[in-house]
Symmetry: C2
């Protein structure tokens, strides 16, 4: 079992759990048997589901936990009272080196707080960041921070650049990802003081590990020219949600405009289009900067989307994310 | 002529000007004869174009200007050297009370700087803001600031709320627009200090002139539930451009996915869809907070889009925007 990627799964977090979690693991095992799953949750319920399938019995171990952190709990309440929860125990198994990575579809705020309580930050990192995958014209890119840090200084943004490039390398086997800072224009004088200072640091460091490409504007995030897009958690969160809202708005209006006849006739092409842009493929935010990686799957995601998050976990561990972050870091005084 | 809305037009700014400008005025005059146009630009060129059409001759006056501010000029160079330009002179005609509103498809940065140089701010406003129109499920909403102010305090954001609601009232004859602050969550404890302070001011003032609805997240901007969305210029600019990029990405991929056969068959329904979301209808950012309104049309917009911006100018003047802003303002110490 030593070559297996051991994934700690919070089996109780998110809508329709643990059903979708178990189903997601099954989908993932059909194409990839490199993972082993430590399943944290109510033993009685989980055992019933797993006992039906030989492959699940072979590749999962259940760890009984009493409590569940609810989606509407405040992060602090969850952290204070959640020591016996499936989420807490799954993250704790990273601290105890019993798992390589932890995955949950539960309460994001609670996950961030509990991870920070239980796991140390990587030497040199003050603020861990939440990174996500965005579809683009070529494939996908990494955007961070998506909301873990509302206010950031130039050291934080520089760290995000280093961590984001390490993540991109781990996921896509690319040695020199192209990095840019999200800004309101391309000229050097544009943007806040923090952004301009970060620009200077990244430019002056002549980074060996990635290719710094300057600024990028919001309308070019999805062009596929840049691999890693760096911003503070406020801007990143607004940008991500605005993109999501725009995509929903357009597809909703498109459906309304198309009559039934042309919907039937263009069924196959619309299916291709939907498959390419299936948000379940880009599901999974990665909490970077702690000594073990923690991954968040969307609360409302289905089994297929959860299987995609498992795949991301596998790539992160096999790609040696933490080592890559450590060797990428730039020393900044701030 | 006293009842006419007098629009000062920078006839030389933007791609394909002055052709598209003249064509846009003609389109606008076909449906609305309430406007009169002071056209600023090279007399020789403009006269040739106008002489062909009686309606243009009747509704336009040409004011000869020597220079043109180019799109790639820095705002400061443009302001220093641009005193004889079509843009400068058209804004100056507001100061001299010869026009009610100014419209340009030229250099945005130059327009912001020249407007601030020539026009006083409304009493009580420190930072004017750039507001835009976004399509939503019902019709459209106002979002501001879109990039005039990178850093904002709680007084600025409160002013934006008051100015944005005045703009919405002028454009849509709605007496109690619903206002929200763009944030990373809906709970009161979320967001930066500035946002939380603005929330308190707007909540405590029990505003008569608009209905404060708390926070809104990026994915709900286009739902149609909120009429005016308030944010700082950095976040607003990133959100606007990200929405634009996402819309382009989806429509590009959709076109690629549809085969020729289904494209022909769904021609009419796709046309309806495109018409509803035609970006030319939402074209036109409004610079709010100065003693006269200044409107910016997109540089690459065509004559049809420019005609829409003329329509926005007409509504702003007839809706008494400036008076509405003055009577909306809240006193904030900051």
């Amino acid at each position: 079992m030593s070559n297996k990627v051991i994934i700690a799964i919070d089996a109780m977090g998110g809508e329709n759990s643990p059903n979708k979690i178990i189903e997601g693991i099954k989908i993932s095992l059909n194409s990839n048997k490199e993972n082993f799953f430590n399943l944290f949750g109510k033993k009685e319920i989980l055992e019933k589901q797993i006992s039906k399938s030989k492959i699940l019995r072979d590749y999962c171990e259940i760890i009984d936990t009493k409590d569940i952190i609810l989606d509407d709990e405040s992060p602090l309440t969850a952290a204070k009272g959640g020591k016996n929860s499936s989420m807490w125990k799954s993250i704790e198994s990273l601290k105890d080196k019993k798992s390589d990575i932890s995955l949950s579809a539960g309460n994001t705020g609670a996950m961030l707080v509990i991870s920070r309580l239980l796991l140390k930050t990587i030497n040199g990192i003050n603020k861990p960041a939440l990174a996500g995958l965005w579809p683009n014209q070529n494939n996908m890119n990494v955007v961070l921070d998506l909301g873990a840090n509302i206010e950031c200084n130039e050291k934080n943004l520089t760290d995000f650049a280093c961590m984001g490039s390490a993540l991109f390398k781990s996921l896509f086997e690319n040695d020199r990802p192209k990095i840019a800072l999200l800004n309101v224009g391309l000229e050097e004088h544009k943007g806040s003081d923090v952004i301009k200072k970060t620009f200077t640091i990244l430019k002056e460091n002549k980074i060996k590990n990635f290719n710094f490409c300057g600024y990028i504007e919001g309308n070019h995030i999805m062009d596929g020219e840049i691999d890693v897009i760096v911003t503070d958690g406020f801007t990143g969160n607004v940008a991500l949600k605005t993109a999501e809202g725009t995509a929903n708005f357009i597809t909703k209006n498109l459906k309304r405009s198309l009559n039934k006849f042309s919907l039937i006739l263009s069924y196959n092409s619309m299916k291709k289009f939907k498959e390419k842009l299936d948000p379940r493929k880009y599901n999974g935010a990665i909490f970077l900067g702690l000594q073990s990686p923690v991954v968040k799957s969307h609360g409302s995601i289905d089994a297929f989307g959860f299987a995609h998050s498992i795949n991301v976990c596998n790539k992160i561990v096999k790609g040696n994310l933490i080592e890559k972050i450590e060797s990428n870091l730039i020393t900044v005084d701030a």
